[in-house]
């Protein structure tokens, strides 16, 4: 099992992802500069959070043209695992690997806070170790995380059970007040049709140690590790 973490100019969750994978979960993990194109050595690629290219145009809009992205598309088409977190999710949507877009939070403010994610589908490669309906405590940190897609896309996502995480209460109830950014249907994370590409706004790499307040992120990492 080998993880690769793609680093774009302006990425900052790269080191936050590296630390728990390497030091807590004892996995092989490498950084991949966005100009590299050979991803053959990896089993799972992480697109971490941050502000690639400053998010100046639109989050992810410039990063999607980085040389590594063509290779990533190839990588994903082989059914290998890709997880995009925060800015990584935005890049996946911009590049068309995932449907929909991430708009500015409904209150027009950046939000860094703990959220709870109800696991809606435990049969994906990213959630196999979760309990059905379990609420994971994982924080968000973003300004543009309001998931939006047209009705047809939403219906398709629902029908295919591709909405993997929804913002919920600690007890797992999906309510308006548990929605931190105005995402449609409380969507916090979705997969592609094949189920091998996950995009999520919350940061599982920030919940891997009791000292920092939660270890629920590890359930996602351990699911990935177990599946390969």
């Amino acid at each position: 099992m080998k993880f690769g973490i793609i680093v774009f100019p302006g990425t900052w969750s790269d080191r936050d992802c590296y630390y728990p994978l390497k030091d807590i979960l004892k996995q092989k993990v490498n950084y991949i500069w966005h100009k590299e194109t050979d991803l053959n050595a990896y089993d799972c690629i992480i697109l971490p959070g941050g502000f690639s290219y400053g998010d100046y145009l639109r989050p992810g809009a410039i990063a999607r043209f980085s040389p590594v992205m063509a290779s990533l598309e190839q990588f994903a088409s082989q059914g290998k695992l890709v997880i995009g977190i925060c800015n990584g999710f935005q890049i996946l949507c911009e590049s068309g690997l995932l449907p929909g877009v991430l708009l500015r939070n409904v209150h027009l403010e950046y939000r860094c806070q703990w959220t709870y994610l109800k696991v809606e589908n435990t049969s994906t490669a990213f959630t196999s170790k979760c309990q059905n309906g379990q609420a994971l405590k994982i924080p968000i940190s973003h300004y543009e995380g309001r998931y939006y897609a047209d009705d047809a896309t939403l219906a398709e996502l629902e029908a295919d059970k591709r909405i993997v995480f929804r913002y919920s209460t600690p007890e797992g109830r999906v309510t308006d007040s548990a929605n931190p950014n105005g995402s449609l249907r409380n969507i916090a994370g979705i997969t592609n049709k094949k189920g091998n590409v996950l995009g999520m706004m919350p940061h599982p790499e920030r919940s891997c140690e009791p000292l920092l307040g939660s270890i629920d992120g590890n359930i996602i990492w351990e699911s990935i590790i177990a599946g390969i």
């Binding site: 100019p9 900052w12 939000r111 790499e205």
Partner: protein, 734 residues
Amino acid sequence: MPVSKETLDEVALSEKEYQLIVEKLGREPSEVELGMFGSLWSEHCGYKHSKALLRQFPSKSKRVLVKPGEENAGVIDIGDGLVVIMKVESHNHPSAIEPYQGAATGVGGIVRDIFTMGARPIALMNSLRFGPLTDSHNRYLFGGVVGGIAGYGNCLGIPDIGGEIYFSDCYSGNPLVNALCLGIAEAKHLVRARAYGEGNFLMLVGADTGRDGLHGASGLASRSFEDERELRSTVQVGNPFLEKLLIEACLELAKTDWIAGMQDLGAAGLTSSAVESANRGGGGIEIDVLKIPRREKGMTPYEVMLSESQERMLVVVKKGYEGKVKALFDRWELRSDIIGFVTGDGLARIKEGKKVVAEAPVNVLSSSPVYRKHVKKPEWINQLQSFDVNSIPDLPRKKVKTTLLRLLASPNIASKRCVYRQYDHQVGNNTVVIPGSDAAVLRIKGTKKAISLTTDGNGRYCYVNPYLGGVIAVSEASRNLACSGAQPLAITDCLNFGNPEKDDVYYQLKECIAGMTRACREFKIPVISGNVSLYNETRGEAVYPTPVVGMVGLIEDVAKHCTSGFKNEGDLVFLLGDGNVVDSSIGGSEYLELIHGTIKGNPYIDLEMEKRLQRCCLEAIRRGLTNSAHDCSDGGLAVALVESCLADGRGFVSSEWDIDGRLDAALFGEAQSRIVVSIAPKSSWKLQKLADRYQICATKLGVVGGKRFILKGFMDLSLKEVGEAWRGGLEKLL
């Protein structure tokens, strides 16, 4: 005199100072030289009114590796081959004019101060002051400043772990925006801000140079200003993405042996960074302004040398390594240009092609005059201090409940969550205690250690008593660290005052520094860096004298840190410290201002007791006795108890309190040297014993439990009601 008064005004030099320059140079200065002198001799860069006073601060301890002044900031050894570096700086004046960019570039500037030394920035904090939010302009300033801090800091991936925010009329129109950054480095990779080694190259990296920020140092930060609209062009615009690239590239560079030094460009731009690093290196520099990439056409050498365009670094590259260094910056897609070299002649020589436009000795440019004033205590301060507490009626029992709710909802006391949730306070995966407790705590990866960080400074106390206000600012910061379980290591300070040329303001500055110095010596905490922001006035009215103390402490074992919230049902709650609350402790308090509209009185602190209290608290935490610890400060004991309840959602039931003196002083007075702790009942005898050993009082206050806040005989409220007042107090004003 060949220059006009208007010309001198523009560079903020007096006629006397001009004569001094002529005398030292032996000739009239050129236009470029005059601009350089104006900036370097400004209050902002030269500290001419404060330097003599600042020398009093202790700056040594066995952990201080580099003294302040020798470098951008002092360096503190935390063991395991690691050092921490921190600094706080003001961006008050730019923020008054353009709050978003003013605050954003304040963050950018302080971050550069840290990574220029080879340290990775791992924490940001802000100490902010505004006028009341009932005024729409103050709301605009508040929203802009918070937005700017969030916009810039979040993009960098450095956690912003809190700080403080206070409101008072005196800050209307002149907000205080102090930004603090702390970095960590391996001691062996520290980079010096020195231009040394004849023939080494000066390389300018990052943004192109434009006309933005001209006269920022000499104009904005060193004079009072009446019409802010004219000064809009002096505020710079930040580019956090570029800064992020600079951080990564410069930290990579710091690990090589290709460079002799590095210095960021801040106030007074290239002038101060080149001249100051030459001064530290003991040599000279030569720069050709034509080699500096410009943002716009037609810029004069004067404008190029004084531009305050952001996100620029000056790197002193060892001869022969310029290709390697350039390749490193190219990889990060950063522009880098060789603009000059280090000389051995001790001169700062600025050329435009072949033509020399300035040539002055580095040591003359760097030695601004130092002013001292002999001033007396102003009579109005005596009047403030002679406040008779009996002129105010005591609080009737039946009003305790409403008074507490009003205090909790006061924006000075209310929760600041609606602000700090806009800052990424978790990135970096180190934040153990998030904003909202007495001090934030960050673990140090690869060790068992953690650091604790706080900022403190009560302008109201300093207004009524500048000396004691200074003593209390340091004491309270240290007490906050003690509540988190940390041993204080070092201070960085930002002194925000009015126009020092006025006797009363100079008196405040002098007394406040004396008070801070006294407390630093008592606690044996060195000052490793700092900044002075003077001329904080609107229409001739100075802000409260507001020293901001940023303090870092060390927790040897992160498992033994402590937070402010009550943890367990049934734990006993004790008050440690000063058991004898005097009626006069409502003087200078939030209560007195909010409820009675009075800002008078005289604070009091017994430093010996304070030291014993902090040692006792630290020992109790290290021995694992206490489950929570929270400093009594704004709003007094009752507010401290509520805050400990709300942190983790647990109620409190008091025992029968026997109150001798005034009720308002007992509940809401701000007597110093008090800490609320909670402890398992079976351990309480150990706490009593410890308190006896340190000769401080440990008074039992009540029990943790339930979902109500009950002061027997005085009030009984649900946590929901007190929580709504406290959580909504600030948010509903926005």
